[in-house]
Amino acid sequence: MAGRFRRTLATVRSTGAVPRWLLYIGGATVLVFTLVALAAPLIAPYDFDQYRSDGTRFPKLGHPSGDHPFGTTVQSLDVLSRVIWGARTALEVVVLAVVFSLIIGVALGLISGFVGGWLDRVLVLLMDALFAFPYLLLAIVLSFLLSDAIGSGVVTTALAITVVYVPQYFRVVRGSTMSARELPYVEAARVIGAKPRTIIVRYLLANVVQSVPVVATLNAGDAILTLAGLGFLGYGIQPTEAAEWGYDLQRAVSDANAGIWWTALYPGLAITVLVVALTILGEGLNEVLNPTLRRRRAFAFLLPGRSASTQAPVLAAKEPR
C-alpha cells in the first residue's frame, strides 16, 4: 500500500506530466476543430450564406431553438452554420499562411545565417522593420494592396497574414543557423567538398528546424486573431465569400446592447477556444521538442534496499529513504 502511494505521488510530482497534458488537451481540441472544418458541408445544417429554407426566411435574431440551436442573426443567418463554416475559413487561411511564412521564413533564415555578410544585414534590417510594424496595421495595408492587385478572398488574406509572420521564422532559423554554422560537422561538410547549397540542405536544414513546429503552432493561434481582427475591421474576407468569425462578431456588436447574446457568444467562443488550444499545444510542443527548455524529465523510480550481497559484510543494510 505504502509503496503504491509513494509511486503515485512520484508520478504526480514528475514535471514531465504537465507539458504532456498540455500537448494532449491542446492537440485534441485543435483536432476537433479541424474535423469540424473538414466536415463542414456534412455537419452544418445550412450554408454559410443561407437565410431561407424551403421558401421560408429564417427568423431575424431568432432565439436558439430546435431548428437553429445557436439562434439566428439580424441577417437571418443560422449562427451554428456560421460558426462551423467559420472554422473551415479559419483552417484554410491559417494553414496557407503558416505554410507560406514557414517556407519563406525558413529559407531566408537559412540563407541569411549561413551566408552572412551584407546579405544578412539587409535581410535582418528588412525583417526587423516588418517586425517592428504593428502587425494588424501591416496586415490591413497588405490586404488592401493585395485585394487591389489580385482581388480579395482566402488566398489574399492568407498572403497578408504570411508577411506578418515571416520575420518570426526568419529570426529563429537564422539564430540556430548561425550557431550551427560554427559546428565541426558543417566544417566537415566543407572539407568533403560540399557546395553551400548542399551544406544548407543536407547539413543545416534538419538541425535548425527543430524549433519551427513550436513557432508554427504559436503563430497559428496568433494568425486566427489577426484573421478575426481583419474581419472585424472589414478588411478581411468579404461576407459573400466565406463565413468568418471576426466579421460575425462585428455584426453582433449592436445586438449585444439589445440583450441578444447568442450572435456574439458562439463565434467569440470559437475564436477563444481555438486560440487557447493552439497556444497550449505550442507550449506543450515547446517543452517536449525544445531541448534547451526541456527540463530533464524526472523518471520516477524507487531506490531498492541495499542487498547484503553487494556490500562488504561489515556494512549494514539500510532502508531506502
Binding site: 565541426p184 560537422y185 566543407r190 572539407v191 568533403i192 567538398g193 557546395k195 543536407r202
Partner: protein, 423 residues
C-alpha cells in the same frame, strides 16, 4: 622523400571588430596574428606534429593547409598547386585529396544523418561511384577498414548510437573513403577516454600504411605526438619556435619553451614529484604579441636581446606585490602616476612619471628595491639603465631582436632562440 606541401611565409590574420569602447579609447580594431610567417615543408608519407598550447595558432595553421581559412600572406603549395588566394570553388575539387579529422567526435558528424549516408556523401559529392550499389559497397568497405564491424549494422546507425571512439572511427572512415593524400588531424584523441586513445592512434597509423597517407597531427599532448609523429614542430603565438625529428625534440630539446613543455607533461609515476619551476604566466594575447621573442616574458633564461619593454616591468612589479602583499602594493603603486599604462608602452626607453605627492627619486627607489629583491629575474638583464630626467624616471631597455628559425647548432632540427644563435 618528395614534398607534398610547401608552406612559405604563411600568415593568417583575423581582424577583431573593435567595440565602441575600444574605438573611443583610440586602440581601434585589433588584428590577431594567428599564424605569423610560418615556413614548413611536409614530406610525402610523414607524420608531422604541430604541438603548442591553445592560442599558439596550430589549429589555424592546420585549417589554412586545407584552404579552410584564407591566407593573409605567403603561399601554400599542395602537390604543386598554389592554394593561397584560390577561391573556394577552385579548392573544392582538391578537397578529395586532403581531409580533416576533428577534435570533438560528438560534433563532427551530422546528427540527422545515418553513418551510411554520412560516409558515402563524399563519394556522391565528387561523383566517384557509378550508382547507389557501388557507393554502398565502398561505404561498407570503409566501415570495415576503420574497424566498425559488422559494417551492415553500423551502416544504418546514427551518431547518437555510437560511443566517442566509434564516432571518431566513423569520422576517419569519411575522410579515408576519398583515398586522400593528406589528413589534418586536429586533436583527434584529446576528447576520448584513455582506454580508447591508443586504439584510435593505432588505427590512424594503420591507415597511413594502407592508404599511403601523410598526416599533420595537431595536438597539445607531447606524449601521443611522440608515439605517432616522425617530426614535430613546436608552435608559440603563431610561429614555429622549434622543429625537428622526434628524437631531436625529445632527447635534445633546444628551445626553453620546448623544455618547459616536456617538463610539464604529467607523468603517471608518483615517485616523480610535480615540477615547481614551470614558466610563469600564460600565452599572451595574439593581438598584442610581446616584442622580440614572444616567449621571453615567461622564459627563465631570457637575456638582453629577447624583447624587454615596459609591459615586462609592469608584470614584474605585479609579481612583486603579489609576493609582498596588499600593504606593499598600497605604498609602492602610489608612487606611479599611471601604473597600468606601462602595459601599452612602446618598444624602447620607458618614461615613468611619479604619482601625486611623489618624486622621480621615489619611483627610482621602488625600482631599485624590486631589482635588489630579485636580481636574477631575467627582466633586469634587459634593463640597461634607470635614470632621472626632467622629474621622471627613464628606464632604458636593450633593443629587441626577433629570433629567426635557423638550423640548430650541432643538431638536425631548427630552432628560433637567441641562446642558440647569438646575433
Amino acid at each position: 622523400m618528395s614534398t607534398l606541401v610547401e608552406v612559405s611565409k604563411l600568415s593568417v590574420h583575423f581582424t577583431l571588430r573593435g567595440g565602441a569602447l575600444s574605438r573611443l579609447t583610440g586602440r581601434g580594431s585589433a588584428v590577431v596574428r594567428a599564424v605569423d610567417g610560418v615556413d614548413l615543408t611536409l614530406r610525402r608519407g610523414e607524420v608531422l606534429g604541430l604541438v603548442g598550447e591553445s592560442g599558439s595558432g596550430k589549429t589555424t595553421l592546420g585549417r589554412a593547409l586545407l584552404g579552410l581559412v584564407p591566407a593573409t600572406a605567403g603561399s601554400i603549395r599542395f602537390d604543386g598547386t598554389e592554394l593561397a588566394g584560390l577561391p573556394e570553388r577552385r579548392i573544392r575539387p582538391l578537397r578529395r585529396r586532403m581531409q580533416m579529422v576533428f577534435q570533438d567526435p560528438h560534433a563532427a558528424l551530422n546528427p540527422a544523418m545515418d553513418l551510411g549516408t554520412a560516409i558515402g556523401h563524399p563519394l556522391k559529392i565528387h561523383k566517384l561511384t557509378s550508382g547507389e550499389a557501388e557507393t554502398r559497397t565502398r561505404v561498407l568497405e570503409a566501415l570495415e577498414l576503420v574497424g566498425l564491424a559488422p559494417a551492415e549494422r553500423y551502416y544504418s546507425a546514427y551518431p547518437s548510437d555510437l560511443s566517442g571512439g566509434q564516432k571518431q572511427r566513423a569520422v576517419l572512415a569519411r575522410a579515408a573513403i576519398l583515398d586522400p593524400s593528406l589528413i589534418v588531424a586536429d586533436e583527434p584523441v584529446s576528447m576520448l577516454d584513455m582506454s580508447v586513445r591508443a586504439r584510435t592512434i593505432e588505427l590512424m597509423a594503420s591507415l597511413r600504411d594502407r592508404l599511403d597517407l601523410t598526416y599533420v597531427y595537431i595536438t597539445h599532448d607531447l606524449a601521443t605526438a611522440k608515439l605517432f609523429c616522425d617530426r614535430i614542430a613546436i608552435m608559440y603565438l603563431g610561429r614555429i619556435v622549434e622543429i625537428g625529428s622526434v628524437a631531436s625534440i625529445f632527447e635534445q630539446p633546444r628551445h626553453p619553451y620546448t623544455k618547459a613543455l616536456l617538463k610539464a607533461v604529467p607523468v603517471p609515476d608518483p615517485s616523480r614529484s610535480a615540477p615547481r619551476d614551470l614558466p610563469r604566466g600564460e600565452i599572451p594575447d595574439a593581438s598584442r604579441p610581446p616584442a622580440g621573442c614572444a616567449f621571453h616574458p615567461r622564459c627563465p633564461v631570457a637575456f638582453e636581446p629577447c624583447g624587454w619593454t615596459g609591459r615586462d616591468l609592469r608584470a614584474h612589479l605585479e609579481d612583486r606585490w603579489t609576493r609582498l602583499g596588499a600593504s606593499a602594493y598600497e605604498q609602492e603603486s602610489r608612487v606611479f602616476a599611471d601604473f597600468p599604462d606601462l602595459e601599452f608602452s612602446p618598444v624602447g626607453d620607458v618614461v615613468v612619471a611619479p604619482g601625486r605627492l611623489h618624486t622621480a627619486s621615489d619611483v627610482l627607489t621602488v625600482l631599485n628595491d624590486a631589482r635588489a629583491d630579485a636580481p636574477d629575474d631575467p627582466l633586469w638583464r634587459g634593463v640597461t639603465s634607470m635614470s632621472v630626467r626632467d622629474g621622471k624616471v627613464v628606464v632604458g631597455f636593450a633593443s629587441p631582436v626577433e629570433p629567426r628559425l635557423l638550423p640548430s647548432p650541432g643538431g638536425s632540427g631548427h630552432v628560433a632562440c637567441h641562446l642558440h644563435h647569438p646575433s
